[in-house]
Assembly symmetry: C2
Homo-oligomer: 694 residues x 2
Amino acid sequence: MQNLSSEEQHQESGVRRQVETIRPASAGPSAELKAVTGVDVDPSTELRAGWQGYPLLAGINGVGDLKGLSVAQLKQLADEIRQFIIETVGRTGGHLASSLGVVEITLALHYVFDFEKDKLVWDVGHQCYAHKIVTGRKEEFRNLRHAGGVSGFPNPEESPYDQFAVGHAGTSIGTAIGLALGEALRQAQGEAKQAGQNKIVALVGDGSIVNGASFESLNNLGLVKRQMLIVLNDNSMAIDATQGAVAKYFSKIRLSQTYEDLRRTTSDILEHTPVIGKTVEEAIERIKKSIRMVLPASQLFESLNVPYFGPVDGHDIGALVQLFRAMKQVNHPVILHCHTKKGMGFTPADSQPSKYHSTGPFKMNGDVVEPATEKQGRSFTDAFGDELVRLAEKDKKVVAISSAMCEGTGLKKFRERFPDRFYDVGIAESAAVEIAAGLAKSGMRPVVCIYSTFLQRSFDQIFQEVSLQNLPVVFCIDRAGMVGADGPTHHGLMDIGYLRMMPNLALISPADAVEVGGALGFALSADRAVCVRYPKEIIASQQIAESSSEPFVLGKSVVARRSDKSVAVIISYGSILVEAIAAARALAEEGIEVDVINARFAAPIDSRIVELLGSGKPVITVEDHGVACGFGSAVMEAAGQHSGGFVPQRDGGAVRMLGVPKRFVRHNSRNNQLMEVGINADKIAETVCQMLNR
Amino acid sequence: MQNLSSEEQHQESGVRRQVETIRPASAGPSAELKAVTGVDVDPSTELRAGWQGYPLLAGINGVGDLKGLSVAQLKQLADEIRQFIIETVGRTGGHLASSLGVVEITLALHYVFDFEKDKLVWDVGHQCYAHKIVTGRKEEFRNLRHAGGVSGFPNPEESPYDQFAVGHAGTSIGTAIGLALGEALRQAQGEAKQAGQNKIVALVGDGSIVNGASFESLNNLGLVKRQMLIVLNDNSMAIDATQGAVAKYFSKIRLSQTYEDLRRTTSDILEHTPVIGKTVEEAIERIKKSIRMVLPASQLFESLNVPYFGPVDGHDIGALVQLFRAMKQVNHPVILHCHTKKGMGFTPADSQPSKYHSTGPFKMNGDVVEPATEKQGRSFTDAFGDELVRLAEKDKKVVAISSAMCEGTGLKKFRERFPDRFYDVGIAESAAVEIAAGLAKSGMRPVVCIYSTFLQRSFDQIFQEVSLQNLPVVFCIDRAGMVGADGPTHHGLMDIGYLRMMPNLALISPADAVEVGGALGFALSADRAVCVRYPKEIIASQQIAESSSEPFVLGKSVVARRSDKSVAVIISYGSILVEAIAAARALAEEGIEVDVINARFAAPIDSRIVELLGSGKPVITVEDHGVACGFGSAVMEAAGQHSGGFVPQRDGGAVRMLGVPKRFVRHNSRNNQLMEVGINADKIAETVCQMLNR
């Protein structure tokens, strides 16, 4: 796969201009997409020159510059950083509320530890903005999540201060255990001296700690026989309010705490924290007793045999510095429970943290926040949400399940309309699918709405609990394909592959709003599990082909464009059809007629598609998914299993598969990403020309 | 894909007899395989006619027959069933120890509940033998895990008393929550009356409860506002001894309990259990207080807000009957913690429960247990275990990670030799991979040994924590391909697919013992993650092709057999090479020469393989994996991405992919399964003939 810059690609394409002019204005991934992906900088907001207004931040060019500050200066720096984050995210969009809440913890950690050799591991990682700003990336932070700027998540390619590129929840404790075990082995093997032991810190939110992966790792924390600090950043919120028993437990603790309690806990901990010279066990016992007098809050972690300290005020930077200094000395794993406020310092996010978890660019109008750009269309997500409510009105068996993503997956209306038929399980994708399987077994029609990349956590449950049982669960797989600014951890490029291996599942993808209705209607009436994939994209407001209104029939494709004089066939799967049709129109302008097939199904594959491979015409498959194991791959396989094998009938018949190559595609606008990997109209048209030797 | 019986297939094949005679005696999946799969009935042990010696069991033809028994008779029946299980598993092989431990719980559940309408959900499910015996399947149980007999796991196709076909751990609580929510909705929607509420019971072991999926579901148990009973069968053992903090916690409880304590707990619970008429909350408070006096054992579950009762004696059938009757009335979820003894009633399993977790056929010689058949060869698993120890002697960075499968994955020698470099994380595949990623990041060379089917639980961690970070973790993927007697939940038919989508991973598979050394040596010195797959199979004791001794080179295949007069090419991936070579020899006897390529790599695909597709000769790919997204599929894709697309050069060139079709293959011997799906020597030879029109 060639890896051309977008400009080179433009120059290369002979039909580029035509494509631009004929792409339907309402449907193309053009300007209006930006409202959804939120990655284009609002031109009306000027970039502030230099560091005017940021007296302390101006001097912070690396973590070394923090070390000389006083606690009072750290407090001021925290305020400046928060202001800088708000200003930047207002221009670029991004994860606002959680990043604001964790500024003091971040500064105190960098103040106390030396993360050039110590290791700081982020969980999920979207809260790492302050960390990026103080680790030498403040200039690149101005272009947060844009090409050329820093990504929105930790990324070792950007900085040695980032250990792991992350974006999924619940893995920090496990990877930190691995680091701690590795460090211990290196010491035992004589590679590092006891005195020079590198410290390990994992920073995990209350939304992540309830994930099964976190629990499995907490349960194995006993493997670690050396220092390891887990900071639990408890802001009572994952993306939506955290769900489940642990969240209730935390919230009970939180409600019972006054500010004075938090201060008392802090001083109790400091007074009793084991330091070198004292027996650790003795000190731990003392501290437990002392804290229990304040609050019996530690029972969950104590039963897991994890020494627990807290809760403490996660915005009291002076106390945090003292606490981290004490915890640094402890020679076994400990958990420090910090209370923070999601959206701290930004009044609108303060009161609506869920709304500002991830935001597009915005402007402040006094205290009122306004989107920087007008929303120019409806997203696939919204279309699905609306359609699901419509169908659920007619069928009381329809229930919906979210995994901490009610708003993100468009289920808000459903939750409001059918509170008794809606379940949010928190960041627990595995449990979501198990529960859906049970609901289906009892006769309900569960719809599981999870982003493609997060559904990877449910792979085994989809296999055992759904496919093997042949239960009619519907999977609404949002953010399938390229996702734009969130980058590699969030792209949904493997769902076709991991799902089409499983018996009993049908895989479908609608191309426009009319097909959304058809697809969801089909899914909810099918006698099997159906996986419906759709991208983070503006949806075409009118149907993009006449065939969109034809009903969905199991394993049947439809013809989106046909010509008697066609010399090639484009077979498209899903919303990328708009690009395929734009390519066909552009080619027609050049006198090259091609047929366009809307496959609709990636499993089962329409046998008529297999027959096309033998037609002697070049065939191009197009999908917004990895080429490996994707739709095109399924077509090739179907051909290879055809009776007698895959024998094209005449010379000249050839197949090309367009999709995402097997490499990680960086954060950028979705438009640019499609162009970069070559699945936009230009590149499709170009490929047709290549195959025809024109 | 044709679905012929094995006899039809035999008749169909013109070259069958030759294949039989030329298959190398030391290598073929023939008689010696049985020692590994343990599925062939030992002919020296005669089937006992009728039900002589089982006076009570003789009369049990369905759960209805239990209802009239007294508690004393239930006790006797438990003993008879245990005897019948020991006798049967001695002949057939199977999961012995855990099934023996749970007989009383099973009988008491069926005595109290009516699982024709109530729902009993098993976790993992290998402990369901007594359940199968009393639910009308005792005759079929004589052929446990054999074709024609019952499977070794719950299976709704066998009986309406089985809700879910399971075999992976940690999902029962989630599916039970789904069933409970579904039942509640049906009632709310007027489909079932309050009086006729169906009860829900989940039965989960202490090995499964520490799995992340269990925790996610426990955390969401608050969704259920009606009866749901979780029976925690705590025998201190998963497959090996259960690992982690929760296990230690349970074991502390266990050690502090005398038999008298258990009886006192039981009567305390019964005395205070809420019944209709009393306020539930009031009763729960009373019972908590009463139990706390005995033991403060409930803190883990209480902090999760799960009402907890116990521990009680899981072998006291009279008490269990009373307890279940009480729990049946409670209108919210409860957990009942039962202490049982894994291997109860079978002295050898009693003292070595890990050894008898899953066993081949055996004979009793007094109190001494002897394998019924002599072990006739070394397995791939053993070869890997030995080779890993050899390589770890030379490289102190090599560490090994198991997920409760130390013996099953051949790591026993490694654990003994390098206790400080071995980690068992319990049934926690996700955490295993996270910890491995951390170890790799700190400079170690972690080797993660997990069965193919269970590694599905780590799919997302392999993506985010390994592939995205480009860390050199080695995955030793045991039980890849058909697994024989364990059936659909245990086949490893998707690993090539779910792994080959990921950047930075190399996928390899050795064909014989010589290649095991080459493959593992390559994996441990590669600059990236390497996935090594191998089956549950006897390994060829000598190399099966000269090329086996050629070193492994990234992305390079080797030629296993070549002829100047070849008219077709077989491309084989992994241990199935022995069948491909046998097919080639048989065809040569008929005057048909074919080349055989040993691909070695499924990612990256050797470009020379792609070139073969254009050679004009028929090409057959062979793999012990699903055709969907498998090795053959990767070859087709590589061709489709080749410059100019896939254009065979001459007429007659064709590709066929042999592998496992997209359907579930039932328990049987591995031999029969390979034959059934058509990837044995006979079928390969047949396919070549078909393609050549001979």
